[in-house]
């Protein structure tokens, strides 16, 4: 949803003022307990959790001028990369670009702390090109921590979330374990894997959401479990998800002479549209493979993998499965890819991508011994699996707000997703919408045609995720339009209208858009049809179209891509327009929604309950996804035809 530019709220200071906003009469219902609250503990927005989702949520709310608290159990874990040390990848790279286009921090942090940059899928068409970077984990955390400390309106708070305080069913504040009350009407919960987190290493089970945080008092820590109980108390339905992380090795003990080198791109392409160039040196990654011996060992010890012996009774990710999962599911393959990724410049710790497992330590050791490149490796940290609570997506709306609890937003793994980028995207949208709703502004909702973020949230809402949700390009109907090269042109103007980016950044992107449009108009039809018809590559196009060659490289590349996909892009646009055009299409009164199995369960229930009269009314229903709308449209079309045929026959 797009709406006109944001104006400062009366009595509310913006970030640019550089002053502490005035707190007061806008919380009338708090008047009765105001005397017990220190003014410093009153916030417009409170974000629980300072991971990838929490940071973007707090940053977005602060950008929109809200006095925002970012609550973390341990400020030394702000922006911690709990699993792999990389940002981006197929579809995730596009997400990271979109986060950047909306003013988020993920791209900037990656550019500043990246140690290897690669654009994936270069062999595929340009819609598939996905930036990916290995980051220095510690530097990434430090960059994020510093940024939270230096951003106007943003106040990091160390404390353990204990209780969601409500008044008349709506959010009224957050109680910390030490008794402090953070007064707020907008709460964003981004607790990752920490809701009743339970870690598994073979037969060993440990309470908590992340290894290494054991020392910070998390063993048996009921703090976040308290929030779980709270959410249950608020009537929310929770389900269990699980995920895993592989072992970390001492780099110098890995036999890289038995690996294949994977260098970064030269020159490296930045993630953020604001970064002019990556100047730091890059480090290589390494690739090797598992062996039949390793597979045999895993198969022989499946009974000791909690996932297979029933100890973990929850749903795991199909898309980044544990090694035992892969060995069982793809029994015909006797080898799987493994990637050795350095975790930073100042450390020799390396991450073994592809070897995530819940097997006990002695089996893990045996598996490593059976892989030539890793046979001599010293293990710094062993792999483990974690299971945690997730709020079923049929309880949130497109602003990521819990429908039954006004003011309570959820973002990240708590909504059933997997991955830093998916989490950060939700955080940004939840934080922005919390701030906008507080200001009485229209919500900021992206459609499936606007971006992967629109696809992500539309997929989450109204569905009970059966497994951790990871973004793929195949989830996007408008994949050829949702590219990494045009994320700024797609989204920054929208972000500018609601204040998520500065007006001058919006203007710069508008100018870029104008340049691309002008270039496309100026290219002679013959050259254009060579590119579109023959699928001419960029170099060839530049060689034969002087106008293209004369343009600024980024502009030329975007114009080339749009020409190359022009026929398909037009068709996709007409499909988007078609759906918009059929807003007034009436819905048959006898339509049995509950029998329409191609719609999500939630959509079926909502439709059966509310019985909208037109397709336009369906769009406005919470819990009905855009994908459901598309399906419903197709059903109506074929029904109309069938009815017509019956009458005619």
């Amino acid at each position: 949803m797009r709406h006109p530019g944001r104006r400062p709220r009366p009595g509310h200071r913006c970030a640019a003022d550089g002053a502490v906003p005035v707190v007061g009469a806008r919380f009338p219902f708090l008047a009765i307990r105001m005397e017990s609250v220190m003014p410093a503990d009153v916030f417009d927005v409170v974000v629980v959790g300072a991971g990838h989702a929490g940071i973007e949520a707090a940053a977005a709310a602060a950008r929109l001028g809200c006095r925002t608290a970012l609550v973390s159990g341990n400020l030394d874990t702000i922006g911690k990369m709990s699993c792999n040390p990389s940002i981006g990848g197929t579809a995730k790279g596009q997400l990271a670009r979109e986060i950047d286009a909306l003013g988020g921090w993920m791209g900037l942090a990656t550019d500043a702390t990246g140690i290897q940059f690669r654009t994936l899928n270069r062999s595929k068409g340009p819609a598939m090109w996905s930036p990916r970077a290995q980051c220095d984990k510690l530097a990434y955390h430090r960059w994020m921590k510093q940024r939270t400390e230096t951003t106007a309106n943003l106040f990091p708070v160390q404390g353990e979330a204990w209780e969601v305080v409500t008044a008349s069913g709506a959010v009224a504040g957050l109680r910390l374990r030490d008794g402090r009350l953070l007064t707020t009407t907008r709460l964003v919960i981004t607790t990752g894997t920490f809701l009743r987190g339970l870690m598994h290493q073979g037969e060993t089970r440990t309470d908590g959401g992340r290894m290494g945080d054991l020392g910070s008092g998390r063993v048996g820590d009921p703090a976040v479990q308290g929030i779980s109980g709270q959410l249950l108390g608020l009537g929310l339905r929770l389900i269990r998800h699980k995920t895993g992380t592989p072992c970390r090795l001492l780099g110098r003990t890995v036999r890289i002479d038995r690996c294949e080198i994977q260098p970064g791109d030269e020159p490296p392409i930045p993630f953020s549209f604001l970064t002019p160039a990556i100047t730091q040196p890059q480090v290589p990654c390494w690739a090797c493979r598992t062996t039949p011996e390793a597979h045999a060992l895993i198969k022989a010890n499946l009974h000791r993998a909690p996932m297979y012996n029933g100890q973990i009774n929850s749903i795991g990710p199909r898309y980044c499965p544990s090694i035992e999962d892969k060995v069982v599911r793809f029994a015909d393959r006797d080898s799987h890819h493994l990637f050795i990724e350095p975790e930073g410049r100042d450390t020799d710790e390396v991450y073994v991508s592809g070897l995530s497992t819940s097997l006990p330590i002695d089996v893990q050791a045996g598996v490593l011994a059976a892989i030539p490149a890793l046979a001599e490796a010293h293990v710094l940290r062993w792999a483990y699996a974690v299971e945690y609570d997730v709020v079923a997506g049929d309880q949130i709306d497109h602003t990521l707000m819990v429908r039954s609890v006004p003011g309570l937003h959820l973002a990240g793994q708590i909504n059933g997703t997997s991955g830093y980028e998916e989490a950060a995207a939700q955080g940004l949208m939840a934080g922005a919408n919390a701030a906008l709703s507080l200001a009485g502004k229209p919500p900021f909702i992206l459609s499936r045609a606007d971006g992967y973020i629109g696809v992500l949230i539309d997929d989450l809402v109204g569905r009970c995720p059966e497994e951790p949700y990871r973004m793929f390009t195949s989830r996007a109907e408008h994949r050829l339009h949702l590219r990494s090269d045009n994320a700024d042109r797609r989204l920054t103007p929208l972000a500018a209208t609601c204040g998520l980016v500065e007006p001058d950044r919006g203007a710069a992107v508008a100018a870029k858009q104008a340049a691309v449009t002008a270039l496309l108009a100026a290219i002679p039809p013959a050259a254009a049809s060579r590119i579109a018809g023959e699928g001419q590559e960029l170099a060839a196009a530049l060689a034969t179209a002087p106008l293209l060659a004369a343009a600024e490289p980024a502009i030329a590349e975007s114009a080339w891509i749009e020409l190359r996909y022009s026929a398909y892009l037009e068709r996709q646009e007409s499909r988007i327009a078609q759906l918009a055009h059929h807003r007034d299409l009436p819905l048959p009164e006898d339509l049995d929604y509950r029998s329409l199995t191609m719609l999500s369960t939630e959509a079926r229930n909502r439709l059966a309950e509310r019985r909208p009269r037109t397709l336009g009314e369906v769009r406005a229903l919470a819990g009905v996804r855009e994908a459901d709308l598309e399906s419903l449209y197709a059903i109506l079309q074929s029904r109309r035809w069938r009815d017509g045929a019956t009458t005619a026959g």
Binding site: N121, R318, F330, H337, S474, L480, M598, A627
Partner: protein, 442 residues
């Protein structure tokens, strides 16, 4: 030699009657009965000198008929088949049937044609049952259901093709989403091409064309006499002879191939069928059954029959022979063409103005027809239009699959088209499920 059966295939009285003969010597019988036998898959008009027709009050000029033939095995029954369309009078139909039987045909027993079709593997048992259901259907819906059964299970076929396309797309998508991390290979173009070819052949069976056998779309010229239809027909097809408005010119071509760009369509001249005042079928030949209305009805029915089968109907309107506002036959489906543009102001309703004299607008007309047929927004039923789009899409893939990310879009669009036909959609969850077969790591 098997028995050749003859029967009236329609209820009489009605607007028109259709007599059907089926059997190895059907053509000989028809010829002996005094009718021309057109080439298989085509039809001719004729005036049938029926013995005893005079007793019915005729003038001796014969009964206007349309004769169609189909050659074994490409016919409903799998035998040589002749269909004779004649005015829908019961007496006339009985007389015609007697004439055919006198020349060697046997009256078909109930279900005789179906039995032939069964024997020749043109129908399976279920379909044969569907035919019987169709002829005994008490209401339109029952008839439609029977018809769908008769045509085999179109829905099942579409669903099978769609699920194969979905699976193909899952493979292509996996190659796009997991190429880097898991080394999933890109699309195998040879496999895509052969699958597209196979699936296209499976769907092509459902395409309906004018004569049920030829694969070319039919473009029909209609309009008042003197609207320049025949001149246009000759000019476009290069057919040597012109349709004359006088009865008896039965060997004049009704249809001829018209080459537009790379494809051929069948152009049909329905001259005179729409405009009875000067077509020669009225007045001068009237009285076979003592009433001209029966003949008019037959004329219109035959015209309609063409129009129903046509992919595109071109209604001609000339400055000196203006197309009437509407007579209900062509109004919905026709594209109006202004003819004789050299004579005066073209009909304002027309989308293109042509002149056979000057050649003006002919290329434009060809382009327009090609475009209409490509998008198939002409008069084809929705189902056929979607089917044609799907076939075109499959044809493109069979020919040369594009880059993987475009291939995925093409496959997505094809499954959407089929979903539009079947009436349900494939949730993307299906893709997820298919993905699970690929090895995907982190």
């Amino acid at each position: 030699m098997t028995t050749t059966w003859a029967a009236c295939a329609t209820a009489t009285p009605g607007p028109a009657a259709v007599l059907r003969l089926s059997g190895s010597n059907a053509w000989d019988i028809v010829q002996r009965a005094g009718l021309p036998v057109p080439a298989p898959g085509t039809a001719v008009r004729s005036n049938w000198q029926l013995g005893g027709a005079r007793q019915l009050g005729g003038t001796g000029q014969g009964c206007p008929v349309l004769v169609w033939t189909a050659q074994a095995p490409r016919s409903f029954t799998g035998e040589n088949t002749v269909e004779i369309l004649l005015p829908g009078s019961r007496d006339l139909a009985e007389l015609a049937l007697r004439t055919l039987c006198a020349n060697g045909a046997a009256p078909a027993p109930p279900g005789g044609f179906v039995r032939q079709a069964l024997a020749n593997d043109k129908l399976d048992l279920d379909q044969a049952a569907a035919v019987l259901a169709l002829v005994t259907a008490s209401d339109a819906e029952a008839a439609l259901r029977a018809l769908i059964r008769l045509r085999g299970d179109l829905g099942a076929d579409l669903a099978a093709v769609r699920s194969e396309l979905t699976e193909l797309r899952a493979r292509v998508e996996a190659g796009l989403d997991f190429a880097e991390e898991d080394g999933v290979a890109g699309a195998d173009h040879r496999l895509i091409r052969s699958a597209a070819q196979r699936l296209g052949a499976r769907l092509a069976r459902w395409q309906v064309t004018a004569d049920g056998s030829e694969g070319t779309p039919v473009v029909c010229l209609v309009g008042p006499a003197n609207a320049g239809k025949s001149a246009l027909f000759q000019r476009l097809t290069g057919a040597p002879a012109l349709v004359s408005p006088v009865p008896g010119t039965t060997r004049d071509p009704l249809e001829a191939p018209w080459k537009i760009g790379g494809r051929t369509v069948t152009l049909v001249d329905t001259a005179g069928w729409l405009d009875r005042a000067s077509s020669g079928l009225d007045g001068s030949s009237s009285g076979l059954d003592g009433s001209s209305s029966g003949l008019d009805a037959a004329a219109i029915a035959a015209g309609r029959r063409w129009i129903e089968h046509a992919a595109l109907v071109l209604a001609c309107s000339a400055p000196d022979a203006r197309l009437p506002e509407s007579d209900g036959t062509w109004q919905v489906v026709a594209t109006i063409v202004a003819t004789k543009a050299d004579l005066g102001a073209p009909d304002p309703r027309a989308v293109v103005a042509v002149s056979v004299e000057t050649g003006a607008g002919l290329d434009q007309l060809a382009g327009l027809v090609a475009e209409r047929l490509a998008h198939s927004s002409g008069g084809e039923p929705r189902q056929q239009r979607l089917l044609a789009s799907a076939l075109a899409g499959l044809g493109k893939l069979a020919d040369q699959p594009p880059a993987d990310e475009l291939l995925a879009e093409d496959l997505r669009r094809l499954t959407e088209l089929l979903s539009d036909l079947i009436g349900s959609t494939t949730p993307d969850d299906v893709l997820d499920a298919l993905f699970s077969r690929f090895c995907i790591g982190k």
